[in-house]
């Protein structure tokens, strides 16, 4: 699905970062771990760019992205937020509204389709953002710490939903906390300032000290 060859993550004017090679097969679900400032966002930005840099070969142009904050327009209804992509591409119709409603049902928000984005709780907003990801029918889904700022039980619920709903997609989950992901992701890659290492067994990180060593590039 995705092949990266010799992509330099350094940012002009900042200390040099790793140059990485990475390849992910279709339908794989992987975690990308790394401390802040090692180039995770640079990598995600490069994946979202059109056209992509020549170092990145991606089999699909259908890429969905879920950010750290839910990014809901507070004046639009949950339904309109789910089909925001269709609205911005000028493709909205009664059919897209039905699809959005069905997706809201699937993320457990039946009955809240007409509620304004600004009136949803943090957990509900994250569910709407996940529904928007699903609406895009993307083949590759990039999740950028999508559970940051949620309480522990909501995080578990969200991870459960992702596991259930993102079966058919290729998924890259960027996170600090592998416990978010250990029960539904197959492998973890660790990005440090020097290198990208992996795949590592997520079970290895049940111990925090192991995780810290891995994040520092020692594993």
């Amino acid at each position: 699905m995705l092949t990266i060859r010799q992509l330099d993550l350094s940012y002009p004017g900042y200390p040099p970062l790793a140059t990485i090679d990475w390849s992910i097969g279709r339908g794989q679900h992987v975690a990308l771990l790394g401390r802040s400032g090692v180039g995770k966002s640079t990598l995600l930005k490069a994946l979202l760019e059109t056209p992509k840099p020549p170092q990145i070969q991606c089999e699909t142009t259908r890429i969905a992205y879920m950010a750290q904050s839910p990014v809901l327009l507070p004046w639009l209804s949950a339904r309109d937020n789910v089909m925001l992509g269709a609205r911005l591409r000028g493709e909205q119709s009664s059919e897209t509204a039905e699809i959005a409603d069905a997706l809201l049902d699937r993320v457990g928000l039946s009955g809240l389709a007409a509620r304004a984005g600004g009136q949803l709780s943090g957990g509900q907003k994250s569910r709407v953002a996940l529904a928007r990801c699903l609406f895009e029918e993307a083949e590759l889904v990039l999740l950028d710490e999508p559970f940051a700022g949620l309480d522990r039980s909501t995080r578990i619920d969200m991870a459960e939903l992702c596991r259930e709903l993102l079966v058919d997609q290729t998924v890259i989950l960027v996170t600090h906390d592998p416990r978010d992901a250990s029960d539904w992701l197959e492998a973890a890659w660790v990005l440090s300032a020097q290198q990208l290492s992996g795949p590592l067994d997520l079970q290895a990180f049940q111990d925090d000290r192991e995780l810290i060593r891995a994040l520092d590039g020692a594993l």
Partner: protein, 247 residues
């Protein structure tokens, strides 16, 4: 209720202070009239003050509306182009750095002594805070937002009108609130330079005739008018906060 009470108490304290100064220093009424003289002139000639206040109010409101629209439009036009911003910013800043006093004679020359020159001066004062605040609203979009929007592969114009413009509106609103507090300067300075009506005109006229009580009364009315216009602007722009999505 508490706000009204607070306003009344502040007013009462100021009036007492004012009366106290006049009494302690035994000031003649043509230097500083006591509050009772000013209140009495307001009470006996209300039509005079209403007439001139309405003229000034019209100048300020029209200037706020025109400057607001103009400021918003300029911000929208240059929002997407850092190059255009670099080219236009110096001109925008100069339009603010030049005191409106310095521009007033030129505007009088071009637009005459009527409503148009006061409108131009108020608009000139209003548009910059609105442009600057709206631009900072466009720039405030967090990267998580711009990445999410990019990933949705929308059309540029739709992204602008459906996402970026509404998100900048609360910022434009706070710019307009700042503008509302300085807008009376444009109108009153314009009236000083030459006019046949308005509170600024009334002050000059009264000053020339030694009617210090009328001068002070006009000043009091101007204070009330400025507060009223600020209050209305505040109320109107607060409705824009429904577009507030991030700090």
């Amino acid at each position: 209720m508490i706000r009204v009470l607070r306003g009344l108490i502040t007013t009462a304290v100021l009036l007492t202070l004012w009366a106290g100064i006049v009494w302690i220093f035994d000031l003649p009424h043509y230097i500083l009239p006591g509050p009772e003289r000013v209140i009495s002139v307001l009470w006996t000639r209300p039509e005079l003050f209403v007439h001139h206040a309405l003229i000034t109010a019209a100048e300020i409101s029209a200037g706020l509306a025109l400057g607001g629209i103009f400021g918003l439009a300029v911000a929208c036009l240059i929002a997407d182009s850092p190059r255009l911003q670099r080219w236009t910013m110096p001109a925008l800043v100069i339009s603010q750095a030049l005191p409106v006093f310095a521009l007033a004679p030129i505007l009088m020359l071009w637009l005459g002594y009527g409503f148009a020159s006061k409108l131009a001066m108020t608009t000139l004062i209003v548009f910059f805070p609105v442009t600057a605040a709206t631009l900072s609203g466009f720039r405030a979009l967090p990267s998580s937002w711009s990445d999410t929007i990019t990933a949705l592969r929308g059309q540029r114009l739709r992204i602008f009108w459906q996402v970026r413009f509404p998100l900048a509106l609360p910022f434009a609103g706070s710019g307009l609130r700042i503008a509302a507090s300085v807008a009376p300067i444009g109108a009153v300075v314009g009236e000083w330079m030459g006019s046949a009506g308005g509170l600024g005109y009334l002050m000059l006229h009264a000053n020339g005739r030694g009617q210090t009580d009328v001068l002070f009364a006009a000043l009091v009315v101007l204070c009330g008018l400025a507060l009223l216009i600020w209050g209305i602007t505040n109320r109107l722009t607060r409705s824009l906060n429904r577009y507030q999505a991030f700090d």
